[in-house]
């Protein structure tokens, strides 16, 4: 066990939270905002499909999937930058979980 600077730990939390905020904002944009402006957007077409319908049936879902994978990769990078070892996480996690 070694003590780490509170500011380092805060930096970790801030980095993760900022990214999550950005992902949720993008997710909000491609779903709620597109629905809100559905009528004006219907004049643009993607692959023969009006944009509002395309986003609802494919665009939003594809964006969600990409966001989740980007999150998984970027979070692993952040972990690495802060010296977190996943093997160690696993063994700690086994000890910490309440198995009763």
């Amino acid at each position: 066990m070694k003590k780490i600077d509170k500011s380092t730990a805060d930096a970790y939390f801030r980095a993760r939270t900022t990214m999550i905020f950005i992902y949720l904002a993008i997710g909000f944009l491609v779903s709620y905002v597109v629905v809100f402006f559905a009528e004006p957007l219907s004049n643009i077409t993607v692959n023969n499909i009006p944009l509002h319908y395309y986003m609802g049936s494919q665009g939003a879902v594809l964006t969600f999937i990409i966001l989740l994978f980007v999150n998984a990769v970027v979070s692993d990078r952040i972990d690495k930058k802060f010296g977190i070892d996943d093997k160690k996480n696993e063994s700690i996690s086994r000890g910490n979980s309440v198995e009763h």
Binding site: L24, G56, E99
Partner: protein
């Protein structure tokens, strides 16, 4: 006995034997196997299990039909049910995994230091999962019943016996690996007909690319007929209802206990993040195909069925007309069946289309096996959630804390059998429209669990009285709005009963915050535990200091 029957029957029996075999092989031996599959499920497989757990008979059988019948307005379901995974994976799942408990009510009880909150959450889990499972069981009854040409009730009973057997036997561990197999069966069953139809109609085997062409043709057909166009938004309800429904489905997804518990089965926070990503990829395969399925079905019905002579309709029409879900009546008496004279129920579009498009007996049999896989996997996950709430949160944590491991497994197994049988009996005579009950379950989850978990993870000042008040107010507002909108004709901005979750969630969050701020803060230890959830396992937070565990494993 015809060939179609034999093919479908063989496919279903083969998949059932596979599921039971997996459950026997992965028999639960310890309580941690039974509740959280020993916490060692690899993320990719957990993603598949989440996919099967999540995609119910409603997704498999109903989704494409809903999009076909509602047009753009049906897409609220596509976006809502996938967007929920953003909230779940970004805001809740990794943190709940680090907290490391067996069930969602257990998290709420321990985090908020309140037995009452845990019991309330356990009761809510049972109510939500129970209503949801009724839909699954009666769905499997319809499929088995139509296939074996027995009464739907007999079909339901066969489904009940099967689910009770393999979930009681395998617990979470057995269910996990059964769900992996069920995911593969259901996704193959879904994709094959869409790909075949794409080839037939457009010559391009990739439905996701080629259905744009069909959408274009549908617009022309609609204009010729002078009916409201397929892609025009908000023809069924208001824009606000669309947005409210989408929010309710997202927050409900993030608050469904049987889905959250799947994130307890992996080893770390990192594995929880990857599970969420894989899960949505696997779910997306079906959800991205559903709008294509819908467009192809509508096109085939409009071009190949509409316009044919009423007395020379193909054979499949009779068997579906017999179920009461399809009506083809020559209303204007001109001897030709027009598009406006075809009334098709949302629920049969997926099952009937392979017959309509003449895709062959193997594909039709596969669809039956896929629909069964979707219904059984979700029902299995729900039964585990109900059983865990009964045997762990209520029996072990409140009634008999000294119970031995053997006793607890026994109680767990019997509560599964009991819950399945009761749900099966209710499903014999389902109380009204099933899609509506499912939508209510989501509204309830977004009004109760979503706020309690969100504040529990992200706001350390939230306390026991806050969460209890929040749960009660969220539940009352959601139920109250459903009731008023459904029977009292009261709506805000045209938001109907299925969008009630947005009011429930808002009311529960505000109540939790106001009551928490006006009562004593949680103990320092609880607050420290909440701050600790900000960091990966290797970092721990105590008394304002952060420690990094750098000891070497021997």
């Amino acid at each position: 006995m015809d060939v179609q029957f034999l093919v479908s029957f063989t496919l279903i029996i083969a998949t059932f034997a596979l599921y039971i075999g997996i459950a026997i092989f992965n028999r639960a031996k310890a309580t941690s196997d039974f509740y959280v599959a020993g916490r060692g499920v690899p993320p990719v497989f957990n993603g598949m299990a989440i996919g099967a757990d999540w995609m119910s008979a409603a997704s498999f059988i109903g989704m494409a039909g809903t999009v076909m019948v509602l047009g753009y307005d049906g897409l609220a379901y596509v976006m809502g049910w996938t967007g929920g995974y953003l909230l779940l994976t970004f805001l809740l799942a990794p943190q709940l995994r680090k907290y490391g408990r067996y069930t969602v009510p257990e998290f709420i009880g321990d985090r908020y230091q309140s037995n009452i909150a845990r019991l309330l959450a356990a009761v809510a889990t049972i109510i939500i999962s129970f209503t949801y499972s009724i839909g699954q069981l009666s769905g499997s009854g319809v499929v088995i019943g139509r296939l074996l040409e027995v009464h739907t009730a007999v079909g339901t009973l066969i489904g009940v016996v099967l689910i009770a057997f393999y979930s009681a036997m395998g617990g979470m561990k057995g269910i996990t690996w059964t769900q992996v197999a069920q995911y593969l069966v259901l996704i193959i069953a879904y994709l094959i007909p869409v790909i075949f139809m794409a080839l037939q109609l457009t010559g391009n085997p990739l439905p996701w690319v080629s259905y744009g062409e069909i959408i274009g043709k549908l617009q022309v057909l609609d204009q010729d007929l002078g009916i409201s166009e397929y892609v025009v938004p908000f023809t069924e309800n208001t824009k606000w209802q669309f947005l409210a429904l989408m929010f309710t489905l997202m927050a409900g997804t993030a608050g469904l206990p049987h889905v959250i518990v799947r994130f307890y089965t992996v080893s770390t926070m990192k594995a929880a993040r990857w599970s969420g990503a894989w899960a949505l990829l696997f779910i997306g395969l079906l959800y991205l195909s559903a709008p294509a399925y819908a467009a192809f079905s509508r096109f085939i019905l409009m071009t190949q069925v509409a316009g044919s002579a009423i007395d020379s309709l193909p054979a499949w029409t009779t068997s579906w007309v017999d179920t009461g879900r399809l009506s083809v009546a020559d209303q204007n008496g001109d001897g030709i069946l027009q598009w406006s004279e075809i009334v098709i129920s949302n629920d049969i579009v997926v099952m009937a289309t392979p017959e309509i498009a003449n895709l062959g007996i193997f594909v039709i049999g596969l669809m039956a096996a896929g629909a069964m896989a979707a219904a059984l996997s979700t029902a299995g996950g729900l039964m585990i959630a109900i059983s865990a709430a009964l045997s762990h949160d209520i029996y072990y944590r409140s009634i008999n804390p000294n119970a031995s491991e053997k006793q607890r497994l026994l109680v767990g197994r019997w509560s599964i059998v009991l819950a399945t049988v009761i749900a099966g009996l209710v499903a014999l005579n389902p109380p009204g429209a099933i899609t509506q009950i499912v939508a209510w379950a989501f509204a309830l989850a977004s009004g109760t669990f979503f706020p309690a978990l969100l504040l529990g993870v992200w706001w350390r000042r939230s306390n026991g009285p806050g969460v209890i008040a929040g749960l009660i107010v969220g539940l009352s507002v959601t139920l109250g709005y459903i009731f008023l909108a459904k029977y009292g004709g009261f709506t805000i901005l045209g938001i109907i009963d299925t969008g009630a979750g947005v009011f429930g969630a808002a009311a529960a969050i505000i109540t939790n915050i106001v009551v928490s701020l006006n009562t004593a803060a949680p103990t320092q230890q609880v607050q420290d535990e909440v701050v600790d959830l900000r960091y990966p396992e290797q970092m721990s937070y105590r008394d304002g200091e952060v420690w990094l565990d750098d000891s070497q494993d021997s």
